[in-house]
């Protein structure tokens, strides 16, 4: 028998579990930084000492911390986590590290759903509109994301094997189609709706309010909890659908659950923050390099690192041209696009596109 070139066996699962804690602390630190950094120059420490000293906060301080930075922090956390987790789940289900909702048309589908809701929402019967209320846009985004993920999977997967080329090409086609229909709807929109659409389309956390948190929070929250139950099945699926079934995975249920999770997470994020790209690719990829591809730990770490990543990107977007701010999508793309290219170059020999 050949003598194996034995590299020391590091149990990556242990390392990944330690990473949960490290990332949690980093997230806490970044959250503090995000709360204390901004155009007004107030610091958390000054405010905290004021509170502890029993002095009342000024009206301005209350507004800045509670009405502006607070919801922005929570929204950034939710959106960052959901983008990274939906990327990781999508990559698991497509068995490919290049699958990202933003790149292969799921984001565009969710966007089409959101735009449809904004433009045509007024035509809904009053009963239905009253029933759904604020949640109309995220629910529409969820359906848009669900339909596009479903179509994409059906088109690119035959007999349990996903063709990468078909997936990427179908994603481009779906994205273009969703973009075109969105364009028609924008053309039909009235002035008020155009204002809504413009704000929404900026792909930014600016204009975060507690009501937006309330709108996206439940859907993203459900998706994050659901993702926790997908880890084992996705590990099995990395051996292919048949092998996953032999290992005891209910493959059909896993796929349905994963597609719904991706749709809810992407839909929730797109509904409140527009299209923010690349987080779903960078975050899971970095984590796989650091702690391995085991989805049971990867999904948790992706949520944490995704939140960290988005809060940092938001911080950069706010600070770099203060007092104005950049759309956050620009920041994530400037970091993310080169990383994506790097993955492609590294894997060129391995993946036959």
């Amino acid at each position: 028998m050949a003598i194996p070139a034995n590299e020391p066996l590091v149990d990556r699962r242990q390392r990944a579990r330690r990473t949960h804690w490290v990332l949690s602390f980093v997230l806490l630190a970044v959250a503090m930084l995000s709360l204390t950094t901004g155009a007004t120059g107030m610091t958390l420490f000054a405010t905290l000492s004021k509170v502890l000293a029993g002095e009342p906060l000024t009206q301005l301080e209350k507004i800045v911390f509670w009405d502006i930075r607070g919801p922005r922090l929570v929204l950034g956390l939710l959106v960052g986590a959901s983008l990274a987790v939906s990327g990781a789940v999508m990559q698991g289900i497509f068995r490919n590290p290049l699958a990202d909702p933003g790149l292969i048309g799921v984001g565009a589908g969710a966007g089409l759903g959101a735009i449809t809701a904004i433009v045509l929402g007024g035509f809904l019967p009053a009963v239905v509109a009253g029933l759904i209320g604020y949640w109309l846009v995220p629910i529409a985004a969820f359906f848009g994301g669900w339909v596009s993920t479903f179509i994409l999977y059906r088109v690119s997967t035959r007999h349990g094997r996903t063709s990468v080329a078909t997936m990427l090409l179908a994603g481009i086609a779906l994205g273009a189609l969703a973009g075109a229909v969105s364009g028609i709807l924008i053309y039909l929109a009235d002035d008020n709706q155009l204002r809504d659409l413009t704000f929404w389309g900026l792909g930014s956390l600016a204009g975060a309010t507690w009501s937006k948190v309330l709108v996206a929070g439940p859907m993203i929250g459900i998706a994050m909890v659901a993702a926790l139950f997908l880890g084992r099945g996705l590990n099995g699926l990395s051996l292919g659908e048949a092998a996953a079934f032999h290992l005891g995975v209910n493959v059909q249920r896993l796929k349905n659950g994963a597609v719904m999770t991706v749709a809810a997470a992407t839909g929730g994020a797109v509904a409140v923050a527009g299209g923010i790209g690349f987080i779903g690719i960078i975050v899971p990829h970095l984590l796989r390099l650091a702690t391995g591809p085991d989805h049971e730990t990867l999904l948790i770490n992706a949520a944490l690192l995704g939140a960290i990543f988005l809060l940092l990107a938001d911080l950069i977007a706010r600070v770099i041209v203060a007092p104005a701010e950049l759309p956050i999508g620009i920041v994530t793309a400037v970091i993310g696009a080169p990383v994506f290219l790097w993955i492609l170059l590294r894997r060129r020999g391995l993946v036959d596109l």
Partner: protein, 261 residues
Amino acid sequence: MSIRAQAISVRLGQNDVLHGVDFHAHPGEITAIVGPNGSGKTTLMRALTGEVPYRGKVEIAGQDIKLAPAWQLAGRRAVLPQAMTLAFPFKVAEVVRMGLMMGTHSTDPSLPSRALAEVGLAGFEGRYFQELSGGEQQRAHLARVLVQVWQPVGDDGPCWLLLDEPVSSLDIAHQLEVMGVISSYAQRGGGVVAVMHDLNLTALKADRMAIMKGGRIFATGRPNDVMTDAILSEVYGCRIRVGVNPEVPTPFVLPHTATLR
């Protein structure tokens, strides 16, 4: 306690691949499925695992596998497919550990290493799976399959290894090593069904064999009884000569010298 398949017919696309096949296998034995390319061996295997839609009935220990949930089947039988792909850069130990996924058997953390040692891959735990050679990958998958049903006889009866060409990409020494592991599993009370290509290895190691031709079972029985010049020549469509192994009373197979010209 056995595997019973009754009147199994499978249609893939426009073609009928199996025509009402009856197949039995008993625990404590290795049952080999042999036959020429395209005779339906793999399709029969995939019907036994529940992977391909079929007409007819497959029972493991009296239970219809169509009615059993995936997790329950996973505690009963483990499957080694013919070809596999792996999507992400898992290490060998991580792949083998997937066999423990549904937790139906022991969750002993030393199990993956013990299984790897059984198939001759001791010390490979920390290597990247995709960097192994084809034969090493095949043995690592076998270790994963062994881990899934580690106890040949579980709490509710014997367990099964369903193996599609388990030694196809192995050298002769590793073929014997792997067949030894499989034999030991059967001797300890487990059941083994294996699709085989090497007739000599089948003659040495299998307790029973089913010889397939054109989507039907042509002959079944002990290797000594069914491996004859007439049956094998007919099934494979070339002249084959069967002799008796000088060491043990099992048949061995050679092409008829006329076919060598």
